[in-house]
């Protein structure tokens, strides 16, 4: 008695189909991989994506300590960040290996969240170091260069844009923390960098993120307003003094 196997994104094998006395004879032979191999690959990729997400979040957490650190501390943080980034790259190399000779887009949904989170982290890192926006090209070549076998890992435009959207969230936190630290020039710089994604968006996922970004931006504007207005009442030096006393970055 044959069974119907369900493909594409469905992991269990279906029950037997022999209702009304007809046995559905369904076999699939034209696939390079068995269904089982495909499922296993997908599972591996999902796991690597999750690991990448967790490690990237940790990297972001670390990077938030950078602005409030002294110069030597700052160097240490960036060294540590670089090494964390390298170990995340290992995940990408494993994924490249597993995807080799297979359909990239077939599995894209499995690892896309990890890629986005990684981009968020490295965009943030690049911004802290150079105050510029990391290009997609550079992000890809970084991964390739660190691969002993020189494999290329493809990052889609959409993942890159979604990564930027998330990155603006971190930029916002950075703003609020800089405010708490009394670093007014920094705040100005961040605020100028906070990019608008174009409003003419007809992709739903991106559209949603854009709305969240706009709300975040308005929150930051209100915080900056608050500080500015308070700053008009007291000499700037006093604000800075106090900031050095008990300033606590409020990142998370």
């Amino acid at each position: 008695m044959a069974t119907i196997e369900r493909g594409e994104g469905v992991n269990e094998v279906a029950d037997e189909v022999d209702i009304r006395g007809v046995h559905l004879q369904v076999r699939y032979t034209s696939y390079p991989d068995s269904q089982q191999e495909q499922n296993d690959r997908r599972e591996r990729l999902i796991k690597l994506s999750r690991d990448t997400t967790i490690a990237s979040k940790r990297l972001i957490f670390l990077l938030h300590r950078f602005p409030s650190s002294s110069e030597s501390e700052g160097e240490d943080i960036m060294t540590e960040a670089q090494s964390q980034m390298q170990s995340i790259h290992a995940n990408f190399h494993s994924m490249s290996a597993d995807l080799m000779n297979h359909d990239y887009y077939k599995y894209h949904r499995a690892f896309s969240p990890g890629v986005q989170e990684y981009l968020e982290a490295v965009l943030f890192k690049e911004y802290l170091q150079t105050k510029t926006l990391l290009t997609l090209e550079k992000a890809q070549s970084d991964i390739k260069e660190s691969d002993a076998e020189g494999r290329e890992f493809i990052i889609t435009h959409m993942d890159y844009l979604l990564g930027i959207a998330d990155f603006t969230g971190e930029l916002m936190r950075l703003c609020i923390n800089s405010v708490a630290l009394g670093q007014h020039e920094e705040v100005d710089l961040h605020l100028k960098f906070l990019p608008f994604l174009p409003m003419s968006i007809n992709d739903r996922e991106l559209g949603k993120k854009y709305e969240v970004m706009k709300q975040s931006l308005i929150k930051v504007e209100n915080v900056v307003f608050n500080v500015t207005v308070r700053g008009t009442e007291y000499p700037k030096e006093m604000i800075l003094d106090r900031a050095n006393d008990d300033g606590q970055p409020m990142e998370e």
Partner: protein, 218 residues
């Protein structure tokens, strides 16, 4: 009977064609009005360049008009209202841009006729129009944007703009109070102005308690 139904088919094909002709024009109208509205968003980051930004947004109006005129030519006479839902939303965005930019530049509330003339041009003679309702909806969106601008102008050390804004939004609010609104959506939107007004008053409060503006004489 077959003949009767054949005739029906012909009529349906003709109507189909009108819709097909309209489609690319409406897409273009949507693109331009979205772009105008997006341009206006830049005022928050560049308080000092507000006039230039307004001009840039309005510079797309002639292109918009061209499309509206073509659109009006493609619609059979007397049927403009049948299709108006297709461009209503875009008109709303355009009214918003007009009201906002005209006030920022010239400090007055732009009239419905002015917008109609500049946006629709000859399309008006072909039966297209901006409904009063759309005009009022557009005005209703302005206070929210201005309450945000109020905050950002203080950040940019501009303490006079908040006072101007406070007065303008107060006037809009008072103006709407005079209207006998029957449209529920509009009434709701108008109710929302109260929150914008409150936000603006709080900003004025913050700069006034810190003596950043002269104490007002009543």
């Amino acid at each position: 009977m077959e003949e009767a139904f054949s005739k029906c088919n012909e009529i349906m094909e003709a109507e189909s064609k009108v819709r097909e002709d309209m489609k690319p024009l409406i897409k273009e109208i949507e693109r331009i009005s979205r772009s105008m509205s997006a341009t206006m968003q830049q005022i928050h980051g560049k308080i000092s360049q507000i006039e230039e930004i307004c001009d840039k947004a309005l510079s797309q109006v002639p292109e918009l008009q061209t499309n509206f005129v073509q659109l009006s030519n493609s619609i059979p006479k007397g049927m403009q209202y049948k299709y108006q839902m297709s461009w209503k939303h875009s008109l709303g965005q355009v009214v918003f841009v007009f009201v906002l930019s005209e006030w920022l530049k010239n400090n007055h509330l732009v009239k419905l006729e002015t917008i109609t003339e500049r946006v629709l041009g000859a399309a008006r003679d072909n039966g297209l129009s901006i409904e009063l309702e759309d005009y009022l909806f557009g005005i209703c969106s302005v206070p929210n944007e201005l309450s945000r601008l109020c905050v950002n102008s203080v950040t940019a050390s501009n303490y006079t703009l908040p006072l101007r804004i406070s007065q303008f939004v107060g006037e809009i609010y008072a103006g709407f109070r005079l209207l006998n609104l029957k449209n529920d959506g509009l009434r709701k939107k108008y109710d929302g102005i109260k929150y914008d007004m409150k936000k603006i008053e709080e900003v004025v409060y913050d700069i006034s308690i810190r003596k950043l503006i002269p104490v007002p004489q009543q």
